[in-house]
Symmetry: C2
Subunit: 513 residues, 2 copies
């Protein structure tokens, strides 16, 4: 069955063109206890789901972002779960609900025209790796609880660390080691707790109130208090500013605890790792590098220098699910100490088989006990595409972003606000003093531009950022399905909307109406 060349996904909550999906909705026996995990039933329904996803992946010209209002789905669905499903084939009926009620209300992150936030790149190997993981469904919280799952996680974190050119001190092969957590918030939390325990062991737990954590105002959401950055340093954290803050705190009797430096903020600024680590080391604090988005770019030797100095960091985290084809819920690589997080109890006591061996129980590497077999997916991605395949992928997005950047630069009405380093372009309509008067008006104009761009039904979907008082549009290239034509077309839509907006302003005498 070939995918429909085009499909009609209406966003007003009405049903989408149903013909294509109907093909995969065959008859099924009603589920009953004995068939909850029956192999034949699984195979039959599984093929339907695969066809359904393939159909979804084949969509091209639907709106990326739905025009729905809050409550649309809650009103459409019953207030209670069914007692017994009414339908003969409840699974097929459920797939119809997905098609008619759920898909039309999603923001389609896999769309080639999704340029918002950061990408959630997917791939066939990742999506099927996930399906395989869930089919096997083991819980490797200790080595014994599923030995191959723990060992595969050790193998792939080393594989990935090497592919990213990370120092061996962070890898198992160099005495460190990595783990796969759900999100970077969790990774930072783990590093923070470990740093705290290390410091309190040194200075006594009574001084917990004196500990100070540092980051720039561009750091990940998980951390809130911040040292300001400035446009003239491209919003990177200044080692001098950090040093001054740490000295002042130490003089006031406080204890510098933790620095979170970032490689690739939401505006893709890159903090100078080597210089910052030197400042941190002087105060005996913990240095963590958060490379959630841009860490993926380290697979390419041309980006390797951005992690210079990483051999001095205590921990490092990145997301394979943002840009390395390994869809959501994949990867971090912190070299954590078990001391801060370990548990030991009879219920999960080490196996006899493990006695005398230096094993890894990943439950001690995170805040969670239950965990998924995440390594299988990442292994499949690395195994099937290879490091060179990932490089090709990253480079193709960087190329497309560079092309978009060049188009922005060639239009004098626009400016690129921060230097593009990866595949994200932050840009805006220039403030025109003679027309707009102030930054505030420029911000308002760009806010309206984004609204217009996203209001184009077959157009791109972008989001904004506000840094140093400047409102900018963000074009984040990163969907696996994005091709050059999507980028070119996205820019054309931006130009058209801008022309229309500026035209209207001229009529109303330069005042944003």
């Amino acid at each position: 069955m070939a995918p429909p060349a085009q499909m009609c996904l209406v966003n007003n909550g009405d049903s989408i063109n149903a013909a294509a999906v109907r093909m995969v909705m065959k008859e099924a026996a009603p589920p009953h206890s004995a068939s909850l995990l029956d192999a034949d039933e699984f195979r039959r329904l599984g093929h339907q789901v695969i066809d359904f996803i393939a159909y979804y992946a084949g969509m091209g010209s639907y709106p990326v972002h739905p025009s729905v209002t809050p409550g649309f789905l809650r009103r459409a669905l019953p207030a209670d779960a069914p007692s017994r499903p009414a339908e003969h084939d409840a699974f097929a009926a459920a797939l119809r609900d997905v098609r008619d009620h759920i898909l039309p209300g999603l923001t389609h992150w896999q769309s080639p025209r999704h340029f918002a936030h950061f990408p959630a790149s997917s791939s066939t190997a990742a999506a099927l790796g996930e399906a395989l993981t869930d089919g096997i469904n083991v819980v490797p919280f200790t080595w014994a609880a599923s030995p191959a799952a723990t060992e595969l996680e050790m193998v792939v974190t080393d594989w990935l660390g090497k592919a990213l050119h990370l120092p061996e001190s962070l890898l198992f092969c160099g005495g460190g080691g990595g783990t796969l957590l759900g999100t970077s918030c969790e990774a930072i939390l783990c590093a923070l707790v470990t740093a705290r325990e290390r410091k309190l062991a040194e200075i006594g737990s009574k001084r917990i109130g004196d500990l100070v954590v540092y980051c720039s105002d561009q750091t990940h959401f998980a951390l809130r208090k911040a040292i300001p950055t400035h446009r003239d340093r491209m919003f990177a954290l200044s080692p001098a500013d950090l040093g001054a803050a740490m000295r002042a705190d130490a003089d006031a009797g406080l204890v510098p605890l933790f620095l979170c430096a970032t490689i690739g903020t939401t505006q893709t600024s890159v903090d100078p790792v080597r210089e910052l680590c030197a400042v941190v080391a002087a105060h005996g604090a913990w240095s963590h590098v958060d490379a959630v988005y841009a860490g993926s770019a380290l697979v390419c030797p041309e980006f390797r220098h951005l992690a210079d100095g990483a051999e001095a960091v205590d921990s490092f985290s990145m997301n394979a699910h943002k840009w390395l084809l390994a869809n959501t819920d994949c990867l971090r690589q912190p070299a954590l100490l078990v001391a801060g997080l370990g548990t030991e109890q009879e219920y999960i006591l080490k196996d006899a088989a493990a006695e005398g061996h230096d094993i890894v129980d990943y439950k001690d590497w995170s805040v969670t006990l239950t965990r998924r077999f995440r390594a299988l997916k990442l292994w499949l991605v690395l195994r099937c595409y290879g490091v060179e395949g990932l490089r090709d992928h990253v480079r193709s997005h960087v190329r497309m972003a560079a092309a978009f950047e060049n188009m922005v630069r060639a239009d004098e009405r626009f400016e690129v606000v921060t230097v593009r380093q990866f595949s994200l372009v932050c840009f805006r309509l220039r403030p025109l003093p003679e027309k707009l008067g102030s930054e505030k008006e420029a911000n308002e104009l760009n806010r309206r531009l984004l609204e217009e761009v996203n209001g184009t039904r077959s157009g791109p979907y972008m989001r904004s950022a506000k840094v140093g008082g400047i409102y900018m549009l963000r074009c984040a290239v990163g969907s696996t399905l994005t091709e050059e034509r999507h980028v070119t077309e996205a820019w054309r839509v931006v130009q058209d909307r801008a022309a229309e907006l500026l035209g209207k302003m001229e009529i109303t005498n330069g005042v944003v109406a």
Copy 2:
């Protein structure tokens, strides 16, 4: 293709009987950038993966727990990821690796003879729901980031809350609300942070060092300091003991902050929620109920009384992935306040569409920003099986556990240590004073019994617990594939191993050799 009636999965690292899997390994084109997410390629490989999982689910007589030693897989795999996969069809080669190297080293949680830890129950709807989630791959961290995903999460947490007979005050329909997090550790952490912020707002943040958290020594790992429980109360937390502890702390100038009560500990004790909440309320502290395992049983009216008094709790969490057919990474239901965890920044500012509406941005309900579309899976499970289907499932396991319990009770060499409430039986060989002398020897004997039971290649796989100084074997019935014959056979293996062990002891004059 019918699943192989039987397969041979050898645990020594050698390849398993390959004929069946080979059938699903067809030729494939080499992956290249353009085909990373190609619909046809996805469909072709997807069908292979579904057949592979169906084959895995159809396995019956393989060892549940592998006899491997640490390092077995790391030694078998290359030290680096491939640069370019050597094979023409890398995906098929990877599936062969799964079959030959990874499956033989897993502990098979889905085996009908897996009675260890707590179950990780799966079902066709859940596993395929997960596959569907990963195929769609959206990131609903705000309402706008994928509206239908957020709304479906609101719908299913209400559905589930009602199915569990929870008070409406914890549901959206009653002014509360639920969210789906990765693990219960995360749920407890969120509740704890929220409780802390609420209390510090009241007493001032300088007193952070005075806050005290309470739980029993049977509480979940996420919490460590504990009030002792005793066998005569079936290891439930005593309200009198809690009250005394809180009073003593308050008298000493400390501030009672948080109680974590448990419905169904690892030994399935149940804390008296109503009485404990009354104690907590008197001190203005936060009460959280952790019903990670036994929360699933609340779908059955006959277990509903265990949550009596829950209308007074501040938050509640449970796992659908343990016993409600919704495999790993599914559900908690805390009614959290956003205050402690919320973030607000231009980058993820509310959509125009959401303005003026009281929307839920789930990023503010957890420690993580990135999150999966977890609601789809749980919705599929509830939609396809219905509340009655879940009841059938829970009751069938409770019946099997009761049968196991009766068999234990009928053998006077054994005793059931804690009263069985759900589908977990904690039992041991009785200490025989005239032969064994002490509890310590009884513990050693039971430890050896477990080793013998788990050493039976085609036998059951159980784990142990040690509570109040008593080492006990845990038979946790909960695999979706478990039938009565597996339970009967498991008991026969236990009896046989016990007879052999006791026989050896008689020969050596009552001393454990």
